[in-house]
Structures are given as structure tokens and as C-alpha cells.
Amino acid sequence: MTETTATGASAGPATAAATGVAGVVFREMSAEPRTQAVPLAHVSLELGHLYMEDFEGGPERMRSHFAQVRPWADALRASAALDGRRPRISTCFLIDDYFSRFSSPAELVPMVIAEADRAGLTIDYLARESGCAVADGVPVAEDVAGRLVDSPPLGSDGSRPPAKETGWLANGDRALGAETLEAMAHTPSWRPPAETAARRHSVFVDVELRDDREGHRTWSCPFLAAVWHLARLGLLRHGGDPVLQPRNWSGTEFPRQWDDLPPLIRLNPSAQPFSAYRTCSVLPARFLPVEHAVRVILDQVDADPEALRQAVKRAADERISVPDEIPDRISYAFYAGT
């Protein structure tokens, strides 16, 4: 085997390494972008979301939430250990600081940790929802929006541009509105929407991804939740680098301002990796419509193929099968209540 160095490849970081074995002598790094891998657990278990209304319910509300979550968390651990192996499970918790700013990390985070602890649950990772929009300067939500490939309704022959510019994403063909019908002569009546992959009858969903008001773009809750699932599946990359990566947080002191808290922190130094082959979220049933929308979005995300491949390969090395399809990698437990 021989090794050589590039001679005068002037394009940025271009260097060349040579191996006679593979038959490739000359290589340019800029011509072969690398996608950095992330460590992966078996399951990323979400112990909850915290919104303003939850906070207003006080510590009691958190206490009853974690008490509801605990049996499901135990069930997940038991089911992940069914094949006799010791499952690698990491837990996470998401706090909304995007749609409304309330309280402060200094006040809130210790309360959340204490209430989880009271129920016998450990929060390994804590994230801020605004980190799903922009994390460490990387426009994560914008990146994911750029990777949406609309599910084509029947008759999509490639000649029509994709409809993503509207900021809405559907799981089928929209109904024809009155204006369109007026424009089309001889169209007899209203035409209903149709779910593309319907089993005879449709469950049509049209998801608002964002709005733009006064020059400011606000991503919708389902869209940020979809980004959150992609982060937990280890599928987010920007220029080949992982984004929304956890930073260690030692100590019990937390800042007075949300912006001073990193978007994702590791509270438990011995936690399993944040990202995992699969995700499971334990949420109150009121999140069902949001998570349905999340699945509609994830069904239409063309994630980084190399990141997808890395997860499948690593799992195969452990003799674990991971579905190719992203929505098939996520699961939920919805408990009764709001």
C-alpha cells in the first residue's frame, strides 16, 4: 500500500490519499463529502413536553404527569429487553421557550428534575424547543424544510413544481375550492380531498408548517416536533456535521435567561447517547393531533441518506433491525388526560 499527498490540489481542503489496494490512487476530499456519524442508543424515550399551560399548573401538574409516565417508561424498558439484551435507553424532556417565554431555567429546570426524580425517573437530556428552530446558529428547521419532498398525488408527471412554497403540507390531494371550481367551466360540484395512501376512505390532513408575519417566520409546533424526532433519530446534519448535539451541564445552577442555556444539555453524565435507532414519546392524549401531523411531515422528509445508512448499518452490526422508513422508527404512548 502506498500513501501520497496531493500535489497542488488547490480547492480548499483538497488533499489526496492513495491506496493501491482499492484501486483508487487519486482522491479529492471536496469531491467526497463526509457525513459525520453520531453515537446511537437503542431507544430515545421522551418523558414529556412542557408548555406554558403546564407551568401554570404548578409542580402538582408536573408531579401527576411524571406519575402517569412512569409505568409506560417501565413498560418500554421491559419490552426493549425482550430479546435478552440490556437495552441502551436515553431519556429526554423538552421545554417550550419558542411559542411563549415563561419563568427561567433557574426556576424551572430544578423543579422539573425534582418532580421526575420523585416519580423515579431520570431526565438524561433537556432541550429547549427553540433549538429545533435554530441551534447554535444553524437554521435547523429551515434545513429540514428544504428536505421536504411532497408526496405526489396521482397524475404528478414531473411537470408541476412542488407546492411546498405555500407553507402547508398535506397527506393527499386537497379539495377543489369554490374559486378553482368557478375558474373551471363545467365542473359540476365540490370535489372532496383525498388521502393519497387511503384505504378506501380518507383521513385527510393538511399541516401548517409555518407562518410569516411582519417579516418574522414562526415554525409550527408540529414542524418543530418533527425536527425534534429527527434530532432524536440522529438524522440531522448541516454540511455533514451533526447539529443539536448535547453539551454537558454539571452542577445544579441554571441561568436566569433561556438564551443562556444551550439548546440541548446532558444532565446525567452516565447517560446513554441522546440519539437512537428509534424514538418513543410518552405524552398526554391531547398531543395526538400534533403527533399525527408530525407523522405526515416525517413521511415526506428526505433525510440525509448517509445519516440514514449509518443508523441502519450500526443497528445491523448489533443484529437489530431498523426500518428504512422514518415514521416507522417512532412510537408513542398516549395516556388519558390533558
Binding site: 479529492e28 405526489p152 404528478s156 408527471d157 414531473g158 411537470s159 412542488p162 428504512d324 422508513e325 415514521p327
Partner: protein, 323 residues
């Protein structure tokens, strides 16, 4: 990559390439080319300096659910994604390319969309694929609305790159776009790749029909066809430029003026097979024997150089006589 996993099962690979001059007064330097082809903010543009400057955009997918064109008139519905990318060679020649591959059979009903996104660049037929009829149908082009239109996907991508604000829309010379439609069926067991036909039709349309061994992915085939399209465009453009210069029939200096852009922008671009999968190299050799792409190119280039040399002699004499 899942696309490679699927490649084994595919029996038909098809695509369309558009080639044109970048509408810009200067050829783009490496970093400018990278900016131009950054179709998605989060993904890197592959670029290379050896053996010539070349940059290629990330792949973008377009979802399709429609009939495939067939010469037999058979109606075949197919669902999946078409891969498209744009590439810039020597900062000067822009190409867009759209392609897909198809397996012999597919599910009889439409699957959740994530099923198709997990197989990028694969279009699955409902039931059995009449591969020969579809290959011929695609080479003939869509005949009625509602049939898969790869050209529209390639054209839309080309258009969006050409509208990039960094381009000044001042091309240094006139040239025409060319379109290359290609289709490849699988080679018989044990046989290597072959080129069955390369046809130059009217209005800038070319068609190529290939046979490729099992396991050869659509991206490698698309790269070959982009290379064929690039060199066909170069030859077409140079031939037209020499014709327009009316070389040999007008005042030599006018001809030199008319041929100047060829020297500035085209003559150094000829480099067949620069980045091909080595197993596809023999296909170029076939085209070199008949019709002899490089032979014709060299003959044109030699003619231009001779003319320039001829004109240089009186110019030097004029220059001397000034003193």
C-alpha cells in the same frame, strides 16, 4: 446507500440531460460554482479540480405518480422519486440531469410515501414493468400530458440555476441547449456494458440506448450520459461556431474575431471520460471509433489554430511596420 441496495433489483435505468452555456460573462471560479449549485443550505456541493474544475449539486428528489410512456400504448402506473442534480464543468458549461431506475415488479397499490423516500431515485411500477416498451417510450418522450416527463424535471432545475442572482446573464457567445434522453436495460448475464445506439436528432435532441450489467447504479449511468451530453454539446457548439464564422470564405480577421470565443471558452474543455466509473470507459471507445467524437473535435480545433496562425503572420508584419 439504499439506492445502491435497490440497484441490484432494477431492470431499467432512464434519464434526461440538459446542457447549456452558463449565462455569465466570465467562467465561474471554484467557490462561485459551489455557491451556484448549493441547492440546499444544509448539504455540501461536491467539487473537484482534477483533471478539470467540476462541481455538482446535491441530489434533489421529485415525487411522481403517473403513467410511464410506452411505445406499445400499454398503461403502466408508477410511483416513486426522480433524482435530479446540476453540474458545472470548467465554470462554463451547465448541465442538469434527471433520472430514475425501476425494478421488474412493484406493489399493486400505493405505499406510504416514506416507503418511496427510503428508495431515492427509484420509481416502482404497479405490477410488472414492460421494460422494453417503457425504455422505447421514454426515449421517444412523453406523448401526452400525464406521462412521466423527465425533461420537465431537468428543465425546471436548469431554469432555477440559470436564474441565480450571481449570474450576469451575459453569455460570451451564442449557443443552443441540447437534450440527451437515455435508457438502459440490463446486459445479458456475464456481459459488460455496451452502447446500443447514439442518435443525433433534430432541434438539439439526442438519444442514447445502453446495456448495463446488473449492480451498476443509475448514478454511474447518469454520469456517463452527462459526459456524453457535455462532449456532444461542445462538438455541436464548435461546429456551429466555425460554420457561422464562414471560415475560408470571408476576410480572415473577421473569422478570427468570430472564433475568438472558441479559444477563450471552449477549446480546453475537451476531456472525455474524466470522471467515469472505470467499467464504463469502453463505451467511450465505441463512440471514438464511430462516429469519432475526438477525431472531429481535433480536426475542428486544428482548423481554428491554423487560421489563427495564418492571421498572426500579417499581423506581425503590420506591427513591425508601425515602428
Amino acid at each position: 446507500m439504499s439506492a445502491q441496495r435497490e440497484a441490484k433489483a432494477s431492470v431499467l435505468l432512464c434519464g434526461e440531460v440538459r446542457t447549456c452555456l452558463l449565462q455569465h460573462s466570465q467562467s465561474l471560479a471554484g467557490d462561485e460554482a459551489v455557491k451556484l449549485l448549493r441547492l440546499r443550505a444544509d448539504e455540501q456541493v461536491r467539487s473537484s479540480e482534477r483533471p478539470n474544475p467540476y462541481a455538482v449539486s446535491p441530489d434533489v428528489l421529485t415525487g411522481v405518480d403517473c403513467r410511464l410512456p410506452t411505445v406499445s400504448g400499454a398503461k403502466v402506473r408508477a410511483v416513486g422519486t426522480v433524482t435530479a442534480r446540476a453540474a458545472l464543468t470548467e465554470g462554463r458549461v451547465l448541465q442538469s440531469s434527471a433520472w430514475f431506475e425501476a425494478p421488474a415488479t412493484g406493489p399493486e397499490q400505493r405505499q406510504p410515501w416514506s416507503h418511496y423516500l427510503a428508495r431515492p431515485g427509484v420509481v416502482e411500477p404497479f405490477g410488472k414493468l414492460p421494460d422494453r416498451a417503457v425504455a422505447d417510450g421514454l426515449l421517444a418522450g412523453p406523448r401526452e400530458p400525464g406521462e412521466l416527463d423527465l425533461g420537465a424535471i431537468a428543465e425546471r432545475l436548469l431554469g432555477s440555476v440559470l436564474r441565480h442572482p450571481s449570474l450576469d446573464q451575459r453569455a460570451p457567445f451564442k449557443s443552443r441547449r441540447t437534450r440527451l434522453r437515455w435508457a438502459a436495460l440490463r446486459a445479458l448475464d456475464g456481459e459488460g456494458p455496451s452502447i446500443e445506439s447514439f442518435t443525433v436528432a433534430e432541434e438539439g435532441l439526442r438519444t442514447a440506448e445502453l446495456r448495463l450489467p446488473e449492480g451498476m447504479g443509475a448514478a454511474a449511468a447518469a454520469a456517463l450520459c452527462e459526459d456524453l451530453a457535455l462532449h456532444d454539446w461542445l462538438l455541436t457548439t464548435l461546429v456551429r461556431m466555425v460554420e457561422r464564422s464562414r471560415l475560408g470564405s470571408v476576410d480572415g480577421r473577421d473569422a478570427v474575431r468570430a472564433l475568438r470565443p472558441a479559444v477563450d471558452h471552449l477549446m480546453h474543455l475537451w476531456m472525455p471520460g474524466a470522471r467515469l466509473d472505470p467499467s464504463l470507459g469502453p463505451l467511450w471507445e465505441v463512440l471514438e471509433r464511430e462516429p469519432g467524437f475526438t477525431r472531429q473535435w481535433q480536426s475542428m480545433v486544428q482548423r481554428i489554430r491554423d487560421q489563427l496562425a495564418l492571421q498572426a503572420i500579417p499581423l506581425q508584419r503590420d506591427a513591425l511596420s508601425v515602428h
